[in-house]
């Protein structure tokens, strides 16, 4: 019989699960929007605190299902912070949802789904077994269906939800088939984290299994050619949910994929990955050029950014681990901020009815004059995505370049540079719209809501802080990656 102490390293996951249960019970007793909001934040904070508390107990395995080490802890921490920001940013959205015409839509379930999705990502990054990996992935996906279609009176919500449902199901099928093939060949379902190198990749079944696994993850990461769902889902989902998909969901998938990166160190698979990376960089950036909807633009830009990440993925050694981890952290901050501003802009004029206007890039004409702080935040986020110095995005891009050049991936590095230049063009277009063009007359705006403003302020400060002094984060990244690879 396992003692309770052995479960200790899993404490953050347990706290998250308890939070979800508590939310359910409290909502069943009495509905309270504010209560659910507070409970969610409390649960996330509790999970984060437990994370800090158990940091000296790692690395440890909890049964064969979970593997908790510094790497997993870092990502669980990042995901918890992400979830907390999403909570803050969605408050106004949920308030407006309750106030919309017709009978009000409930808000408490949203928090529940959010906590469950976060639990799914946490399980994913701590998984040490294909069973727990699949469990985490499904928990995440199923919660996301609900979150994407949450504003069910929105014009595109149901469409986006269905689209995600179908494609996630297809990707799960690929993943399962891949796992089955790996099982048929290797006879074990435990993730080969410690047993790296014991599997030789000369066997065709194994190769096929790994390729199918990559396809399954490719859908989650939305890299070309598995990217088709992204723009529609981003556009149809409420912006905090889109932020969650872009950061937490993709980040967790990338983290777990990177854990068994050594498995993919084989000629054909490397070529496969390199083609995916190159196609994502080119495809994402070129398609983003023509977008007139800010959320779709961010969707295509995220495809390109995942391509950059794959360049670091293909590099080897410490530099690669550092680059992937830092880049994901910087990308998370930036993307949360960008979607956060879209959400705020929508909230300024009553969310439920007008999110369409806050999505169109044209709708940001004169934004710099009317809302200098919001516009400044969005500008910072765009500059970070473009990789301009003094932002966290620059340090991330620099680390990826360093990893790529260190491993002599010249072709991909050249594509990365080319993609960055194309990227600058469309990020600047957003800036130009905000600052150079004057707006048509508009009615008075509602005041900004407090929680969203706080979240955006913290994100902007983090962005600049990490851009000027990346040292604390690089130190943390270093700590989390030692001994894992």
């Amino acid at each position: 019989m396992k003692s309770l102490a052995e479960l200790l390293p899993l404490l953050p996951v347990v706290v998250l699960g308890l939070t979800a249960v508590a939310l359910m019970i409290s909502t069943a007793i009495r509905r309270s929007r504010g209560g659910a909001f507070a409970l969610t934040l409390l649960g996330l904070a509790g999970a984060f605190a437990s994370l800090v508390a158990i940091r000296s107990y790692v690395p440890a395995s909890v049964s064969t299902l979970f593997r908790v080490d510094g790497y997993a802890l870092f990502y669980v921490g990042l995901l918890l912070v992400t979830a907390a920001f999403v909570t803050l940013l969605s408050k106004r959205f949920l308030e407006d949802l309750g106030r919309a015409s017709g009978p009000p839509l409930p808000a408490e379930e949203f928090y529940m789904l959010l906590v469950l999705a976060t639990l799914g990502t946490a399980v994913l990054v701590t998984s040490g077994h294909f069973a727990s990996l699949f469990l985490g992935l499904e928990l995440l996906s199923i919660s996301l269906y609900g979150m994407i279609a949450y504003n069910r009176r929105g014009p595109r919500a149901i469409e986006a939800g269905i689209k995600y449902l179908i494609l996630a199901a297809v990707s799960s099928a690929f993943l399962l088939f891949g796992i089955a093939l790996l099982y048929a060949e290797g006879g074990a379902l435990a993730l080969p984290i410690d047993a790296r190198g014991t599997i030789s990749t000369g066997q065709p079944l194994l190769l096929a299994g790994l390729a199918l696994l990559l396809v399954g993850f490719g859908f989650k990461l939305a890299v070309v050619p598995f990217h088709l769902w992204t723009p529609d889902v981003y556009q149809g989902a409420p912006s905090p949910v889109a932020a969650f998909i872009a950061t937490a969901s993709k980040g967790a998938a990338m983290a777990v994929l990177f854990r068994f990166a050594p498995l993919f160190d084989e000629g054909a698979l490397r070529t496969f990955l390199a083609v995916i990376a190159g196609a994502s960089i080119l495809g994402g950036n070129v398609l983003a050029l023509r977008q007139r909807n800010l959320k779709r633009l961010l969707a295509y830009s995220s495809i390109a950014h995942l391509g950059y990440l794959l360049v670091a993925f293909l590099a080897s050694g410490d530099a690669a681990a550092r680059a992937v981890t830092f880049y994901l952290a910087a990308y998370t901050i930036t993307t949360l901020g960008a979607f956060g501003v879209i959400g705020q802009a929508a909230g300024l004029r009553g969310w439920a009815s007008t999110e369409g206007a806050a999505e169109e890039i044209e709708g940001y004409r004169g934004f710099g004059r009317r809302h200098p702080w919001l516009a400044g935040t969005l500008a910072l986020m765009m500059l970070s995505l473009a990789g301009i110095p003094l932002t966290a995005g620059f340090v991330g891009k620099y680390l990826v370049l360093l990893a790529g050049i260190g491993s002599e991936l010249w072709g991909l590095v050249a594509l990365l540079a080319l993609g960055s230049v194309v990227g600058v063009a469309y990020y600047l277009r957003v800036l130009a719209t905000m600052y150079l063009r004057d707006a048509p007359m508009q009615g008075p705006a509602r005041p900004q809501d407090l929680s969203g403003t706080i979240a955006l302020a913290i994100l902007a400060l983090l962005l600049i802080g990490l851009g000027a002094f990346p040292e604390p984060l690089t130190r943390l990244v270093e700590w989390s990656c030692t001994g894992v690879f």
Binding site: I388, Y398, L401, L431, L436, F469, E471
Partner: protein, 487 residues
């Protein structure tokens, strides 16, 4: 500490002008002027405190930044850096002064952008850590973009984005080369660092040296600019507001020239020597090409922009001539071009404020209404064509003397550029100030502020022409050191 101040004062001043300038434009102007005057004082103080150190570096500042990545804050000043700091500080003050009346809309933000650019330029001139250098190099792009895009002329958005894309693309090539150098140095010596003084010792194979040099060269050649990478310049220069054109011409182009002397020659001596004949060819081509295109422009600012292309051809020629004389001339040319072309942009800006046009065909006979502005225009046009007694004459003659030793044929071609310069410079004067009077000829002449700006610049260019020795003496040690490395 003084070195950190060179970057931090403009940076902090920028935030102050931005915040206070929102409430009153006057406060923004005042703070910006104060910050730039503080910068002037700092530069002077650096020269005065120079005594102690005996090596080439007058002052050095080292502090850890991101030790895990081998990145540190390493700032240092030698003669070359100091001369360019003087130029930056002086042009900075003037840039604030010329915008005094021109900028009304969002003035606080305007001066903030101006100060941030100047802080970045200062950083470029004193960074001896390649990461920090790249950081400063890129960080000034964003405020420059806004400067052109918000306060520029009709096609400002187009010009601004063109400028940004050219610079960022070439900057990425340099970043890749910097990282490549870092990796090669680390593999060879075991110490991963971006420190310039350590990277100087990197053993490089011929092929690696060539590729890395190309990366650096692309970035500097775009900034300088060298034909055929100059396409962004005429648009950016002609569409920017006066202060923007002034900073672009007088300072930003110099960062490219500075990079060539500070980084390309010492870091990759063999590769630079191999490239030298081509470099001189490109330089001579730029001189002739820029001058011919300048002649056929009808837009005054665009015309002056093309003269920059021509003058920067001299810089490229001088850098790759590979001897002390030419390199001394290059340093001199950087300063003199900054003053004379900067002044021509200011004259063009003052004309624009009065006439609301930059079209040469709508000007003419303006001398009658504005004799003082006319005299200033004539003086700077003469400086630009290299009249003896002006600084440009000294620099161009030094470059030509030096280049003659390396390649008499190309020097002959380049010397042809001086003749062309005479044609386009006199054409400016003739079309604007003489000739038939246009119906806009009746205008107010220079105000006291404007007269003071132009008088200071005129005095500087005359002083450089008549007594170039102090400048040459300051630039000699670093120049000689660079030449010795190249040999």
């Amino acid at each position: 500490m003084m070195l950190a101040g060179l970057i931090l004062i403009p940076l902090a001043g920028g935030f102050a002008t931005w915040q206070f300038g929102r409430r009153s434009p006057g406060a923004g102007r005042g703070i910006a002027l104060a910050a730039m005057l503080a910068d002037v004082a700092l530069v002077a103080a650096i020269a005065l405190s120079r005594g102690g150190e005996t090596g080439p570096w007058w002052l050095t500042l080292r502090a850890p930044w991101i030790p895990q990545l081998g990145v540190q804050i390493h700032l240092a000043v030698d003669g070359l850096s100091w001369l360019l700091l003087v130029l930056t500080a002086g042009i900075g003050v003037i840039a604030v002064l010329v915008s005094w009346r021109e900028i009304e809309d969002r003035a606080g933000l305007f001066y903030a952008c101006l100060l941030w650019i100047l802080g970045g330029i200062n950083g470029v001139f004193i960074s001896l850590d390649l990461f920090l250098f790249y950081f400063c190099w890129e960080v000034m792009l964003v405020p420059m973009y806004f400067l052109i895009a918000i306060w520029g002329h009709e096609r400002r958005a187009y010009a601004a984005i063109k400028f940004f894309l050219f610079t960022i693309a070439s900057g990425l090539a340099m970043l890749a080369a910097i990282i490549g150098l870092y990796v090669l140095h680390g593999q060879a010596t075991g110490s991963y660092t971006f420190d310039y003084l350590q990277l100087l010792e990197t053993p490089l194979s011929a092929a690696a040296g060539l590729w890395l040099m190309v990366g650096f060269l692309i970035a500097f050649a775009v900034k300088l600019p060298v034909v055929p990478l100059h396409c962004w310049l005429p648009d950016a220069h002609s569409q920017a507001p006066t202060a923007g054109s002034l900073i672009l011409a007088a300072l930003l182009l110099k960062t490219g020239a500075y990079g060539l002397i500070r980084f390309v020659l010492p870091l990759f001596p063999e590769a630079a020597e191999a490239f030298a004949p081509w470099g001189m060819l490109l330089g001579a081509a730029g001189i002739i090409y820029g001058a011919s295109l300048a002649f056929s422009q009808t837009d005054l600012k665009r015309l002056v922009a093309y003269t920059s292309v021509s003058h920067m051809g001299f810089v490229f020629l001088g850098v790759f001539a590979g001897n002390e004389l030419a390199l001394q001339g290059t340093v001199m040319q950087m300063i003199c071009h900054g003053i004379s072309t900067g002044a021509l942009f200011i004259v063009a800006g003052m004309l624009y404020e009065r006439l609301h046009t930059r079209d040469l065909s709508e000007m003419g006979g303006l001398w009658h209404g504005m004799p003082r502005l006319g005299a200033a225009g004539l003086l700077f046009a003469l400086a630009s064509l290299g009249l003896p007694g002006m600084g440009n004459f000294v620099s161009e003659i030094l470059i030509l003397f030096g280049a003659f030793r390396a390649s008499p044929a190309l020097t002959a071609v380049a010397a042809g550029g001086v003749v062309l310069a005479t044609i386009y410079s006199l054409r400016i004067v003739q079309r604007v100030f003489f000739g038939p009077r246009s119906d806009r000829a009746r205008q107010t002449d220079l105000s006291l502020r404007e007269a003071a700006i132009l008088a200071v610049l005129a005095a500087a260019i005359l002083w450089l022409g008549l007594f170039p020795q102090p400048v040459l003496r300051i630039s000699q040690p670093p120049v000689r050191q660079t030449i010795e490395v190249v040999r």
